[in-house]
Structures are given as structure tokens and as C-alpha cells.
Symmetry: C2
Subunit: 602 residues, 2 copies
């Protein structure tokens, strides 16, 4: 079966749960997003994704990318669809109008991104990386660079990448060695030459675009050691003349592409910089801070990767479960046949509903974040509103990235499990969801890194100040729905999270980094479960009100209420174990001597 973009649910989340019409009415950019336009965009985007991208998903996986003499060829059909994508103006949807963009709010682009990932993760990463590169240049480069690079990037004729990782440094970017020196041959301000080697560069080299613009972390000669000595550069594959036309091939080459577990249709490249010309953007040695424009956007993108795979796996497993007849249900459905569809067995429902809880719950979380990005980026909001949106994103980005990528592994594996042996066979496409989703726990910072970011850098370092706005939002919700069952349920677990935050804080104050590191991932997961609980409670309350108001579509709303029940009864209890495990601290993790982990004969 083919995946269908769940437009009804997207409408529920954006319009009913998050009241997007009111949201968009509050800022200039948003005013372009009137309901009819938004609906037209959703319809067309869904059509493009379902009809053009989805058919290349499995074939792209089978074929993979090709590498020969530094040239990367994407799987059959990828370039054609990318040309259509550009011709139809999709890349510029949310681009700034002064550079040819259509100026739609970011939140619309994020919904489009969910659609593209769910129908073809590998393909979606070519425009996906561009989007972050565009934003980074727009935010941090000077007008000259912007004028030369932005228009073709916004149009989609050129794509972008982010170049961070090196062979000896992944998470710990402070160790990076790629270096940049002033380009003595150039009269241009900010012109440098870069040398070094980057690995794991997604969309690093390919045949879709006329030029590829690398956003590169490197060290200047006078750089301090570590993470505080890193600068940010724009380095194009082809040099770009002052009039914006393409110049000579730059000293940038693709050394090889990786054979990977999944996302075979996306090129993961070794990119070598050999006296490549580039341009410093933002301040010297302040590159990491600027790169976070890119990293934060990408982390939300990865949250969407997790959620999208969960959604696809759910929909396909559901179709199978309705069709496949094995064993008789407790209440017979097909009394005239020897067996009933497996969806009538409780254990299959347990898996399907868990997928649904994460798919639709994750969508609520991601689209909520999308609205915060809109607020953060629009000058029409007050400083206070900006600060609140930033604070919410600071906490919710690592939660969404870590939690939705981790749960996507569980959910897509259920997709296999529901199909039984057929799930393990390539033909059905369920195992590809697992393989493609698996990268989401790794790139843009592993779950461990997200946990440290959340608990260490965000919450504990600010003594809880960073999480206060989220807690306030939760408290407000509880206050406003004091007598509602779903708000009361949420309150119980929210209190547990608050108390865990306090107790873990004390533990880290006493025990330092080891305690932080020992708690971080489970703490993040508790935060994820509780945050999703908030959204499921909100969804149930919105649904109750819709049913009461008699606006129709009662079955749809009833399902939301039932899902909240399922979530609190069968999913939320998971936090109990994690709270207990965190409470037991780091000692049993740290006591074992390195040499005692394994004993092997010589």
C-alpha cells in the first residue's frame, strides 16, 4: 500500500489544537498563510509527496547512490523529481521575499518537511539541508555574500550542506582540525582558503543542483583551543563571481560515499577541502554559536524524521492488521471464516496504538515547535514573546529530537513485528522504515548529547530558569482545566517530572558530571513522555469540546479521547521505571574498572 499524508490529522493539530488561524494573524509573515492558502499548499504538497516522491522511496533504497571519480549520481528519478520540485517553486516556499522567496511562515515549511520525509526520507534530505544552510547564511553572512548566494539557494538551483564531523571528532567538535587562512590572492573581505577533511556530510555531493554550498566549521590560525576556537565559513563547490555567476571549480571534492544501514538514496560523503576558497560568516571564533542556527533547525528536522517514520510504519502496519486473518478474536468478527483480522487481537492493538501515540503525539509536539519558530523569527512579536518562544524551543528541541527518534525505533520495529515474517522481507517496505529511521538517533547529536544539552546545558546550568516557561505553560493548562480528567492525569506525571528535575539537580550538584551523564538519557525520555502526555491531554480536551459543540466528525474526536486513555494507561507508566533507575544514581555505572568489562583468553 502507499502512504497517504494524514491531512485530517495535520488539520486537527494545526487548526484545532494549535489554533493556527489566530497564530498566523499575529504577524506580518503569517498573514500570507490564510486558511485557504494553507489548505491549498497542504493539498498540493501531499499530492507531490504521494505521487512523485513515494514511488522512488523503495527503488532509491535498492539502488543507492553511485560514486565514480568524485562524481555522485543519485538513484534513478531523484534528479527529475528535484527539477519538478524546483520548477513548481517548492524550495522557495518559506524563503525570504527579498531573495525571491515566497515568505510563508516556517511552520508551513515544517509540515511540508514531514510530508517529504514520510514519503522519501533520503530525497528529502537534499532540500532539507539546503533549508538550514539558507537560514544560516541569511542570519550570519554579510550583504555581499547574501546577494550572491541566497537567490539560487532559495530558488533551489543550488543546495547546501553542513560540514561539522571529522574522522576523529563527532560529538566533541572542540577537537576539529580543518583550518582556514586568509586568502592572500583575494581582495575580497572575509575571503579565506580552507583545508581539511570532513566526513558524514549528508547531500555533500550529488547531481541535483548546479552548485553545492558547504557551511563549514574550521579553525583560524590564531584560534583558541577547543570549542571556543571554531569559525564558520561558506565554501561553494563552484566559486561564485561577484555577479553571482558560477566561476571555476573550487578546491572541494568528494573522496567517497558511505555504505550505510539506511537512507541509501542520500549521499553521505567524505568532503575534502584542499585550499578551497571560502568566506567567513559571523565573527572569528564564534562559529559554533552561529552554527547553532543550523543545528537547532536540523534537530527539529530530525525530530520530524523520527515522527514521520513512525507515522508511515503505523499506517502500513494498520492496513496489514486489518487485512491479515490469523486466529479467532475473543469476540468473533468473521464468524463465517476460520480466523479474524489480527487488529482484533489485543497485543497487535498494543503495538498499533503505541505507534499511533507517538506518530500523532509527535506531530503535535513538532507543530507546536513550528509555531514557536515562527514567533522566534518574526520581528512582530515582543521581546517577552521572543524570549518565551526561545525558552520553549531550548527545552523542546532536544526533547523532540531525542524522544521522537528513540520512539521511532520502537515504533518502526513494531511495524515489522505486526507483519511477522513479512515485516523482515524487503518487499513490504517495513524494514526500510527501521533502517532509515535508525540514523535519527545519531545525527545532529546522539540521544546522549540531547540529554546532556537538555539536563546539563539548558536546565541545570540556568538553575531551572530555562525550563520555567514550559513549566508555566503546563501549570496554566492544569489551572485552566482543573476539573478535567485529562488535565488531572497530566498533573500527576508533570509533578513527577518536576520532582525528578529537582532531585536530579541535587544529585548533580553533589556528584558532578558523572551523575549528569548517568541520568541524562532517561531524564530526557521522562521529559518526552510527560510532554507528549501534555499534548494528548490537550488533544482529548479539544476533542471533548468538539463533541460537545456538536460540530460533527464525532468518530474522529472520539478516537483522540480514546488515545489519551491508552496513552495514560499503557504508555505513561514507563516513566516510573526511569525515575527509579535515575534515582539509583551513577555508582553502579562508574564503579567497574575498564579492564573488568570483559575477560578474554589470550
Amino acid at each position: 500500500m502507499n502512504y497517504k499524508i494524514p491531512l485530517r490529522d495535520i488539520r486537527f493539530v494545526t487548526q484545532e489544537l494549535l489554533d493556527s488561524p489566530t497564530h498566523y494573524s499575529k504577524f506580518t509573515k503569517g498573514q500570507a498563510a490564510d486558511p485557504d492558502t494553507v489548505e491549498a499548499i497542504f493539498q498540493e504538497a501531499a499530492k507531490f509527496c504521494e505521487n512523485e516522491l513515494a514511488p522512488l522511496n523503495q527503488s532509491g533504497d535498492e539502488e543507492g547512490c553511485h560514486f565514480e571519480d568524485g562524481v555522485v549520481t543519485t538513484p534513478k528519478g531523484f534528479k527529475e523529481k528535484y527539477d519538478d520540485f524546483v520548477a513548481n517553486g517548492w524550495p522557495s516556499l518559506c524563503g525570504p521575499t527579498e531573495f525571491g522567496g515566497q515568505g510563508m511562515p516556517e511552520s508551513i515549511g515544517l509540515i511540508m518537511m514531514e510530508m517529504m520525509i514520510s514519503t522519501n526520507h533520503s530525497w528529502s534530505m537534499y532540500p532539507g539541508l539546503s533549508s538550514g544552510a539558507i537560514k544560516t547564511i541569511y542570519t550570519h553572512a554579510n550583504d555581499n555574500i547574501k546577494g550572491r548566494f541566497m537567490p539560487p539557494m532559495v530558488e533551489g538551483k543550488w543546495t547546501g550542506t553542513m560540514c561539522l564531523t571529522e574522522p576523529h571528532c563527532g560529538s566533541d567538535l572542540g577537537l576539529l582540525k580543518t583550518y582556514a587562512e586568509v586568502d592572500a590572492s583575494s581582495e575580497e573581505d572575509g575571503a579565506y582558503v580552507l583545508s581539511g577533511s570532513k566526513i558524514f556530510i549528508s547531500s555533500g555531493e550529488h547531481d541535483l543542483a548546479d552548485n553545492i554550498v558547504h557551511i563549514v566549521l574550521a579553525r583560524l590560525p590564531d584560534a583558541p583551543e577547543g570549542i571556543r576556537g571554531i569559525s564558520l565559513f561558506v565554501v561553494p563547490k563552484f566559486e561564485v563571481n561577484q555577479d553571482g555567476s558560477l566561476g571555476e571549480r573550487n578546491g572541494v571534492s568528494c573522496g567517497s560515499i558511505e555504505e550505510k544501514m539506511g537512507i541509501h538514496g542520500n549521499s553521505t560523503c567524505v568532503i575534502n577541502f584542499d585550499s578551497a576558497k571560502g568566506y567567513l560568516i559571523s565573527q572569528p571564533h564564534k562559529g559554533m554559536r552561529a552554527m547553532f542556527t543550523f543545528i537547532n533547525e536540523s534537530r527539529l528536522g530530525v525530530a520530524m524524521h523520527g515522527q514521520a517514520h513512525t507515522s508511515v510504519s503505523f499506517q502500513k502496519a494498520l492496513a496489514y492488521a486489518k487485512d491479515r486473518e490469523q486466529f479467532q478474536a475473543a469476540k468473533r468478527v468473521n464468524p463465517d471464516r476460520p480466523a479474524d483480522p489480527i487488529i482484533h487481537h489485543a497485543d497487535v492493538r498494543r503495538m498499533l496504538l503505541t505507534q499511533k501515540a507517538f506518530a500523532e503525539g509527535g506531530r503535535m509536539l513538532n507543530m507546536f515547535c513550528g509555531q514557536q519558530v515562527d514567533i522566534e523569527q518574526s520581528p512582530d512579536f515582543s521581546a517577552e514573546e521572543h524570549a518565551q518562544a526561545e525558552a520553549l524551543l531550548a527545552i523542546l528541541t532536544p526533547i523532540a529530537k531525542g524522544f521522537l527518534s528513540e520512539t521511532s525505533m520502537e515504533a518502526t520495529n513494531y511495524g515489522i513485528q505486526i507483519l511477522g515474517g513479512h515485516g523482515f522481507i524487503k518487499e513490504w517496505g517495513m524494514e526500510q522504515e527501521v533502517r532509515d529511521a535508525r540514523i535519527s538517533q545519531l545525527y545532529e547529536g546522539t540521544t546522549g548529547i540531547q540529554g546532556l544539552d537538555l539536563l546539563g546545558r539548558k536546565i541545570l546550568k540556568t538553575k531551572g530558569a530555562a525550563i520555567a516557561p514550559l513549566m508555566e505553560m503546563f501549570d496554566d493548562f492544569i489551572g485552566e482545566n482543573r476539573w478535567n480528567k485529562n488535565a488531572r492525569r497530566f498533573k500527576k506525571y508533570f509533578k513527577k517530572w518536576k520532582s525528578l528535575t529537582r532531585s536530579t539537580g541535587f544529585k548533580v550538584m553533589r556528584g558532578g558530571m558523572d551523575e549528569l551523564n548517568a541520568a541524562a538519557v532517561e531524564y530526557l525520555m521522562v521529559g518526552g513522555y510527560v510532554t507528549l502526555g501534555y499534548f494528548w491531554s490537550r488533544a482529548a480536551i479539544v476533542a471533548e469540546e468538539a463533541i460537545e459543540s456538536g460540530k460533527g466528525d464525532a468518530e474522529f474526536y472520539q478516537a483522540k479521547i480514546e488515545m489519551a486513555n491508552f496513552y495514560y494507561e499503557r504508555i505513561m507508566p514507563r516513566v516510573e521505571s526511569m525515575i527509579e533507575s535515575i534515582g539509583n544514581g551513577s555508582e553502579s555505572l562508574m564503579s567497574m574498572d575498564v579492564e573488568r568489562f570483559v575477560f578474554l583468553d589470550d
Copy 2:
């Protein structure tokens, strides 16, 4: 790095924890397994697996099996190594002496099986399936069939398969359609002709052996409907003359092989029976009962698949974690270098120790089961001893299969996670462990089926009688170690499991199949965590005694004690959430109407 068979740990588990010398002294077959012989077998088996099988693991995954005109060719090197394996007498290790076997106890064969799976899962399945086929024929066939089929199968010249699944029936074998009629052309007693199509037949066709002997479930013309109308047949690829020589090609053909997520080196076949000659074994319509000889052995084999992948992933991730330097540890280890090995970070340890807990804990559970198989199969034990071994296996087989396969998914995914981006790259081999391990939750009955078998068929159907011997063994252990911390810890969780068993029993009595189905998988997992807790407690107590006795190797024993600490502090709390989730019952699973699971636009 290459995987090294953890012989020190295997010795600990067999000799120290399970006192194999005493065990083997108790029965005739066991007396061949004197310590020196056993050690020599372990050494040679480890050498064969490390030096011959491991080098073909990755290449076999890349190349996969080939299919052309009904002929299957295994990956390069597979046949050669199989010939060596036969030439060195390995297949006959545990075979019955009257058919050319060496008569070693089954428990020795299971250890050899762990070694083979861990170094090459795909390859191990060719001899692996044979072993079950041999046992089934030996147990259920008449002397004529045994005389013709056993010798070359025991020698390894012929291999075996199990043919259960059909396109429309996997878990629900009652639906199967393959049929058998008396072979009117044959004068032989029990000769039939079979027609039908079987899918997912592992090792169903290949180039390693002269003949392939299929153990096939099919219906006789007068068969009652459903699971009570299934009979069991032996159907060879080449007919077998009365003198045991090969006759004509039988009506058995391979229609195709599957493209799969993993175990690419093993052929997963569609096997078509087209008036194929076969022989009824065991009684008409009692085939399922006889097939359980094969199924139970295979389920223990799959438990070993899970455990073996966990062990490999652990060892390889450990090597990486000791080598890879990222970030500075709380207590610096390399003060002269910019970063410390990641094994010094608590979160990496959390993942490594979880792998270790399942790898070594699973080994204890599996090898304990191996001893019970020895007892069950030896006539030297009393009826009471037989009954006890059978009862222990009845409960521990679904637990070991379900729990160790489920935890292998978590553990092998940690293997990827510890390597970061490198874990996702094929070169490092970590992602292959995930892909190869994934089948273990599916074949020989999904985790859901194991849960139903454990909680429904075994525990509740017998009103708890089936689990009594295990509970008694646990009680005895607690009684014997009343003042020991590790026994007391275990007692706490054992009580929780007992109470869960009671409360779930009541729930099922009231609510029927839906309650059973809603609880089954989480119930199995609780059983798995508690059972592994028992083994970790036992291991810690054995280790404490070893340290007290001053027998040396204190570091090794200290590690066991520390692992038990880790297990109870960071792993065992998981049962709390599952107990709570089960306690919330089936209502939230069953209430949603099938049509409400998803709402898609037309």
C-alpha cells in the same frame, strides 16, 4: 576487530555457576563430557568459529544467496567451510552413537551453537536446522526411516529444514492447506505424496549438502479442521532408496528466495511440493505435538541468536569505547590529551553494561536450559527429575526466546549508538548485528506468541502448576541464601512477579482472551527480567564465594558482583512500569473501533 569467543565466561557459567562436572557425572551420555574433553571441544570450536566462520560474516551479508532456475548458491566460502565442518566431525558431536554420532550431551552442542551464531548467524542456520530435523526424526520416525535418513544427516552430508509457514498462515498453523495422500504407487508403509507451498523456509535450498530433508506439516484427507488435523512428514529433496542411497529428484522445488533485512547468507525459500514423496512420522493428525520436538529446540536456538548478537555487539562496542576519545571524563584519564576514551562517560557505560547484562545473563539462562535438555533427554534420570526438567523448560523456553530476542534489539542498537555515526556505516559491522538479530523476535513464534504460550497455555491453563517447579527453585535459592544481599534483592522482585501472576490470572478469569492478550508480552518481559535477576544474583553469590575462598582471578569475580549491582539498580526497575501497565488491563486497547485508528482523506 574480530569477535573472540568469551571462553572464560562460558567456563564460569558452565563449571562454576551450573557445576557441569557434577551434572555430567549423573548420566551415561554425560560421562563422555569429562572436563578435559569439554575444554578441548570448546577450544577447537572457538578456533573454528573465530578463524573460519567469522571472516565470512560480513562478506556473506554483502553477497547474499543467489537464485537461478531453482538452484540456490550460498555466498563465497560458505560451502568450503561447511565441507571442513563435516570433515572435522562437528555435525555429529551430539548425534546418537547408533547412527554415527559422538553422543555428547546436548548442552555441549548448545554452547557450540552460541559460538557459531555469534561468528556467523547465517551460516550457523544450515547445521542449526539440521539438528532439529535430526532430533525430530530420531524421536518420531520408525526404524526404517531412521536407518535411511539418520546416518547422513548426523554426519552432516545431508541437512534438514522445518516447513510450517504458508502464505496465508504464519502463527496460526491451524489454517494450513498443504495436503498429503497415500502414495498408491508405493508399497512402503507410511508413504505419501504431498502437494502445497511453504514459505520462509530457512536453509530450504542450498549448495552445501547432497540432500535436504524437509520436515513438513500437512493435512491428511480425513483430517479434522484446524490445529488438530495436522500431520508430520519427512520429505527429501532427493528420494532415498531402501539402502540409503540417493534416488531421483523428488517433487520438491525452490520457487524463489526472499530479499530480507538481514541474515542474507541464509537462504529463505519458497518450497513447492508437487506430488512429492514423503513419509508420515508420528501419528496421523498428531503432527503438531511431534513438531514441538523441533519447535522447542528451535526456540532455544533463537534465544541463543538473541544472546549471541548481544554478546558480539557488546564486545565490539566495548573495543570502540576504549579506543575512541571524545570529551573529557569527570575524572581525567588522559590528562595529556584533549579527550578521554568514551568508556569513561557514564552514558556510554550505561549502554555497555546493559549489553553485558543481557549477554552474560542470557548465557546463564540459555546454558541452564541446556542442562535441563540433557536431563529431559537422558533415560538415566528419574521420572520426577524428568518432570521437573520438562516443567522448567516449558516456562523458560518462551521466556528465553522472547526476552533474549527482544533485548537483543535494544542491545545491538546500543552497539550502533556507542559508535555514533560509525555505527550506521556498514564497514564497522554494528548495523549488521541489528539486522541479523531482528529476525529472532519473529521466527519460531513472535514475542506475542511466546507471551501467549507462557502466560496462557503454560501458566494459566495449568492453574499455575506448570510454573511451580521454577518458583520452587527460586524459593529454594532465597532460602539457602537468606542473609545474602543478592538473594534478598532477588526476593523482592520475585515476589512482584508472583503477585503479578496471581493478579493477571484473576484478570484473565474475568476478562478472557483479551486480557490475556493484553498482558502477555509485558508479562513475559517481567518474567525475563526477574529470571535474569535470579541468574545475576546466583552469579554474584558464586563470585563472592570465589573471592572469599581466595582461588584467584578476583577481578573477574568482582566484575560479576558489580554487574549484579548494575542489574538491580538500573535494569530491574523496568518491571515496575510493566506491572503498572498490565494492571491497567485491556480496556484502553480494545475500546477503539477498527475504523477509528486512522482518518485519511479520500
